[in-house]
Symmetry: C2
Subunit: 531 residues, 2 copies
């Protein structure tokens, strides 16, 4: 009997210990609920700076004269695509005097489906806007003659963490009592130290007041004000309202993780180790002979650089060799899908894009391109492609987007570049380049080649990269282009014919449809101009 | 003779016309040179808010008492990874009372190579910092009692475009003459209109002055001040110094392209059309039987949804069927390379990640996951995976990064979540989820699965996505996991054995090396803690 009671007691004791231990480790934090549903928030007043100011009652009668040269540069409400008319109608006109042409994009769709497409696009765009807007982009004005000193920029806190708010101070006239209020909405306010002579109310809450009869003490207290983010969001901003007698100031605290670096091992220091730094990427379709010519030419100069090949031929052949990675895709999956596949496999710091009909020569010095990216902040640097005729192209394009209204934005593309680059006399800064370029792998993977583009496409990558990619172009690194001239006495091979069928689709086919249809729907353009 | 002269004259005339036309269309813009070389710029004072303020001469003697509960939340200089010691040493201890363990990451490297790795990492990090810093992140303080009113946030201009600067005004005491100066460095200042009674100097230059004896006139003029960006950069900010007698204000103008949307066509409105909205993506290696079970189970509920399969088996078998896309990779290229490949091919708005040994059931309602992403701002929503035992896991993980100094940052991962989600009672917000999730295709492609991770890896995707991805997890959408229990009387198949060899590598192999080595080098961590 005694041993039984002992066992029962022991078991009871063990359970109690277990339960206590469990309760102890039970999460004590009460999880609150956050509303992350998509709802239209307060509309940010974007057009404030874009319209000329209306007459207001204070300045109603002060005469002014418009300065047309400047006023004409300001953005209008909405945008238009206008081509240049007239011009000399002679042979090679477009070559000698490239004129700007305008192209509406809704024509990608049948009239019957256009309304539906516009509605769907507007709905998707609304979702996009709700996800991309942030209080950190709203226009905030600093009041004049405010006794408040505060930080207008640069205050950041990581999600759910705490910071000291820098730079708060009060420089007021003499008063009996000085009183300051703070209000936040995505976190709480507190103080890291309590200063003598200051009354604190609401510490640990969303609304806090500090008051004192001594301004120096209040200012010392202000140096200890803290903000703690409590409502989790990986990337947002809280608005702090900071006020005293008759004056208010507003500033934002960005709530976000730091930017986590994506660094690449570059191999031993010293000279540029191209095999450690660069992977060559290309896409092929039916042109195994040209592809092999490319590989052979690369190997003459770079015997150990990895070559990644995306292949969507119907009956894929084996392409093998040291440092060759061959990827087989579903037949005809497409051009940009293949490009996206190839770059998705790159493990080196840089990726060199080449077309499968390029030939490396002694002028194809990858070290020069690496040097540009190693020593500048550029993300992409294009080279030059030489045709059999000797004609060498860099295909530099500047790209800009003019914001429109419900109809969509206007895309403007022009041949040319923005600036030369200091220290690199053969190089310039532009927005789009030819299909022979070296790029930072992480940036290219981040922008991506949209797999929805199946056939003819090129600048779409640079359009998607606008704002992310800093693009350069150097004309002294040259790769040769295997001839495309259809010599009349040379009959096309069967594979050449099939290739041509896919590569150059007839005007009414899906390819043009997809390209312009995507610009219309995906990027929300109404039209484009180019020269 | 006459006809010859006529021909010569005509030729001469034609050449003159040609030359004139060429000169006319010659770009008249003089291209300036821009310096985009990587150089250390002014170091941004990040630690300002993180340190408790030093005693300064004005508040030298004011006593204060530290509030430990708040002061302890502030970031220290550097970070540490500390595990929890002690605890009950009983069976299932880690399961019942998960304790935090700390892991240094430099151990991924041999002692002989560690110094070299640290040097290389520091050099790469320096380049990264130079490319990511912006004047838009610097701390700026608004002066107290300044007669200047100005915009502290929200002023943006597209590269090389012009805007009106909003909100400028002067509210000064009575003076003989009011004078305001502006200075910018990446563009020029001007006025869109000239107001009577105001003297303007330096319009069209980097330094402009406005003066007047009449304050209302000066204020009217201030409403017409414009900024034009002239030094091209796709994403930067200019600092405007704005001053009057004895007072100065500083604010930034962001110079950047707008964010170009990447919208997806969602198919006809109405009920969720899963085939139009979702692509299922998976990676397979040697487990064709399990893969076929997965496909069969998917087809029972979603007969037309596209399934993308990345396959790096040694001797790939054909996997075919309607709406199946099979991609062949080089043998053993790797886990994350395969994941990156699969998602790089997705053309629908959402992508559903599944492992190749999952089985769909009637509880695998993709419509529920789509509903979450359609109606919230979340980018990823994980589901739950049910083992043969009935045990269902959501593998929710919260992730935070504590900034360190030269040694690197500290990565902290904890089981759990941040908040419940309003309107979705079975769902929460977290940072990492199990390998069964629906995600916005553009966000997943933007973050990417690093192809350098060849074998075991999971949370690395969510670590790379920190700050970009808003992650949710719902426990009411369940997929089954084909059994992993090694029943002793069932002999392993040959392919199972080979699979196990690659999937569960021995402790000293490259896999662990790559995972921790990458965290150390690529993301610049010194250590991690987890429970």
């Amino acid at each position: 009997m005694r041993s039984l009671r002992k066992t029962v007691l022991l078991a009871l004791l063990a359970s109690v210990v277990l339960v206590v231990a469990l309760l102890h480790s039970w999460p004590t934090r009460t999880y609150s609920t956050v509303d992350v549903r998509q709802r239209p928030g307060p509309m940010v007043e974007h057009h404030l700076e874009e319209r000329l100011p209306e007459l207001d009652h204070r300045s109603g009668n002060i005469p002014y004269r418009l300065k047309e040269s400047v006023a004409s540069l300001l953005a209008r409400n909405g945008c238009v695509c206008e081509g240049e008319n007239g011009g000399v109608n002679i042979p090679f006109a477009q070559l000698l005097f490239p004129r700007v042409s305008a192209h509406p994009l809704h024509t990608a769709f049948e009239a019957s489906e256009l309304e539906e497409m516009k509605k769907r696009r507007a709905k998707e765009y609304q979702g996009f806007q709700m996800r991309s807007q942030s209080p950190a982009n709203a226009i905030i004005l600093a009041e004049a003659n405010s006794p408040l000193q505060y930080p207008t920029q640069g205050v950041e806190v990581r999600p759910l963490k705490t910071i000291l708010i820098p730079g708060l101070a009060l420089q007021d006239l003499s008063r009996e009592i000085y009183s300051i209020n703070f209000t936040v909405s995505l976190g709480t306010l507190n103080v890291a130290a309590e200063v003598e002579g200051v009354t604190i109310k609401g510490d640990g809450e969303m609304h806090m007041s500090l008051s004192s009869s001594l301004m120096p003490n209040l200012n010392r207290q202000l140096q200890f004000v803290t903000y703690t983010n409590t409502l989790f969001h990986p990337s947002t901003a809280d608005t702090v309202q900071f006020e005293t007698e008759g004056h208010q100031a507003i500033f934002t605290i960005k709530i976000r993780h730091g930017v986590t670096p994506k660094l690449y091992n570059t191999g031993p220091q010293g000279e540029y180790n191209i095999s450690a730094l660069v992977t060559i990427a290309t896409k092929t379709f039916l042109r195994y002979d040209k592809l092999q010519d490319l590989i052979d030419s690369v190997r003459r100069y770079y015997p150990t650089v990895t070559i990644v090949i995306a292949d969507d031929s119907e009956n894929p052949k084996t392409v093998s060799g040291p440092y060759i990675e061959h990827y087989i895709m579903p037949f005809g999956k497409g051009w940009f899908a293949g490009r996206n596949l190839a770059v998705s496999q790159v493990t080196t710091k840089y990726v060199l894009w080449v077309d499968d009909d390029f030939i490396f020569s002694s002028n194809t010095k990858l070290e020069k391109l690496v040097d540009v990216l190693e020593r500048t902040t550029l993300d992409v640097v294009g080279g030059a492609v030489r045709e059999a005729t000797g004609y060498t192209a860099t295909y530099r394009q500047t790209i800009s987007i003019e914001p429109g209204e419900e109809e969509g934005d206007c895309l403007h593309m022009r041949r040319g570049f923005h600036h030369a680059i200091q220290g690199f006399p053969n190089c310039v800064v532009t927005d789009g380049v030819i299909n022979f370029f070296l790029a930072r792998t992480d940036k290219v993977q981040q922008v991506g080649f949209d797999p929805r583009l199946t056939r003819v496409a090129h600048l779409e990558f640079f359009i998607d990269g606008l704002g992310s990619l800093h693009v350069g172009s150097c004309d002294d690194v040259i790769v040769n282009h295997a001839t495309k001239i259809k010599l009349p006495w040379v009959s096309q091979s069967e594979s050449d014919k099939t290739y041509a069928k896919f590569r150059y689709p007839p005007a009414s086919s899906d390819a043009t449809h997809t390209k312009n249809g995507l610009l219309f729907f995906k990027n929300r353009f109404q039209c484009l101009t180019r020269n």
